[in-house]
Amino acid sequence: MSDLHTDTVDREIDRSQMKVSDEIAIEIVGMNKWYGTFHVLRDINLTVNRGERIVICGPSGSGKSTLIRCINALEEHQKGSITVDGTLLSNDLKNIDKIRSEVGMCFQHFNLFPHLTILENCTLAPIWVRKTPKREAEETAMYFLEKVKIPDQANKYPGQLSGGQQQRVAIARSLCMRPRIMLFDEPTSALDPEMIKEVLDTMIQLAEEGMTMLCVTHEMGFARQVANRVIFMADGQIVEQNEPEEFFTNPQSDRTKQFLSQILGH
């Protein structure tokens, strides 16, 4: 699954649009989070520039999902600050809804709405949050559904689609809000091996267009090919971060070496 040496896609990746700018997209300073008394995130400092493609990996329970879920306030943090696109994340609901509408998110279990068709899943947020006219929202939705290569399923319900197709719909649904940042929370972990590739392909396509992405994933091939930075987390802390080539060939901390040997060792 996480083979470092096979490429995720067979084609050549187009890197012309993958540019990291100086503009800061996300800034996390001294962030701490507790679940009850359990200190789940400890002193996280992370700056993400626009156009970065960051892969976050680490053993389970290391807090990597919690970290990206804090960015769109699905989880509350208790100390420190998170600034997204220049907006400081606070308890103000208006503020949170604004950030959420600017930051797209894909989940491990897709979280599509089973009572709505694919098209309705995609047009719902633009119509109700952005107040886009229905016609226009549908056109946008079809554009993105074509992009993830499932326009012909638009009138089906999520339950009629395969896992890979559902995840691609979930990506299209997020894109319909025209987000400037995309968060991926283990997008391929619930998928059969055959379907992982089609989802990764869609994500690579996004990266090629210059999207700022944070991915929690175990797909190390994807990390090597697409990411410009790999972050390794353990016990709620950022243990190591580096460019992918360096990260995989020359890990510094023992914890990273151990992790890499476990997932790449065989």
């Binding site: 609901l93 797209g104 998110m105 979280n111 089973p114 009572h115 949050v129 809000m177």
Partner: protein, 438 residues
Amino acid sequence: MSETHAHSAAYVRREMLPQEAPPALETGAVKWLRENLFSSWLNGILTVVSLAFIWLVLSSILPWVVQGIWNAESLSECREIRDQLYGEGHEVACWAVLGDRWRQLLFGFYPPEHYWRVVLALVVFLAAIAPVLFESLPRKMLILTPLAPFIIFFLLWGGTIWGPLAVLLGFVIGWAIFTYGSPVVGNLGGTVLAILVPILYWLFIAGPIASGLGAILPIGLEFVASDEFGGFMLSFVIGIAGIVLSLPIGIFLALGRQSDLFIINKFSVIFIEVIRGVPLIVWLFTASLLLNYFLPPGTNFDLMLRVIIMVTLFSSAYIAEVIRGGLAALPRGQYEGADSLGLDYWQSMRLIILPQALKISIPGIVSTFIGLFKDTTLVVFIGLLDPIGFSNAIRASTEWNGIYWELFIFIGLCFFVCCFGMSRYSQYLERKLRTDHR
């Protein structure tokens, strides 16, 4: 891969097998009988015994029903006719009581010359509820739905037309404040004003307006007091008002019980537990007797209205718990999916959570409604004359003294038709809303 394994596993299928028809077993009725009724000796015996039992029951009941006498003025006349026709001692039904007293069973003491108002109210109700129940009907019919309560109220109770219109105006005021005021004072302020202003209007302005206009232009129908309501009409009015009002209240209570806001949460919990923990009959006695002590002397707060409020509150507590079950059954991912798209609380509830939670809760909701509708017969204990109350009254009359089964069968049948209809509709709705393809 080891070499030995590679050798032993050398098998390649040259052609794929096509699909074939299933083997030709016996089909049709014989097969069905054998599978369902006589699959073994024991089952065969059970089938025969059951058939004999069904025959026994039907053969004693059906003649009683079918040979029943329809034309008679009293029970004694019924018996005479029976003795002539079938000989003495042969029990048959005396349906004549229904022909003689159906007006009371259906309309109570409602003035006969105004029966058309009740029938028209029923028609208005059906026309208003139809587009809500069936999506295939033209959407324009929905215009009638919000107006129907006022039309029905006016038809049933009568009085001048200005009363219902003045009440309706309050809703229009609230709506106008919300639509045009919200952009000015913000959403929260708009909502509060849209609730507060109409309440003040209803308390202090609506009454004088209605009576003033009524004095100038006395357009309307003859007033019929609640005391004259009875029979199935009473059950319907209480039952339908309870059903229509308890669903929204129940939804809000269920959301309240899930809320993180301390006061709202505790209020909902206490309300639900207290209402649900006390028998309905106690609440009905409270409504009929105790409330009078608490209200200022001289207030004439309609008994039927009090009963409707109690029944509504009672069933809304049950509805709230049923819906809470539906809310709890939704995976957390649905809440997170809605949140991550930037939908606010009410949007995510209305568009994502409630449609799914309500769909899961349909069987529970409908069975609560059925329970409520049947529980309306309890009002007989506080002196309202529902069909059961009238059956007692009819039995107390000299003509029909001693008649039991016929009345109860008729009443039971009427309730059964309504409840069975609700049950079938809920199954239709479940089928229609099944989109998850599990």
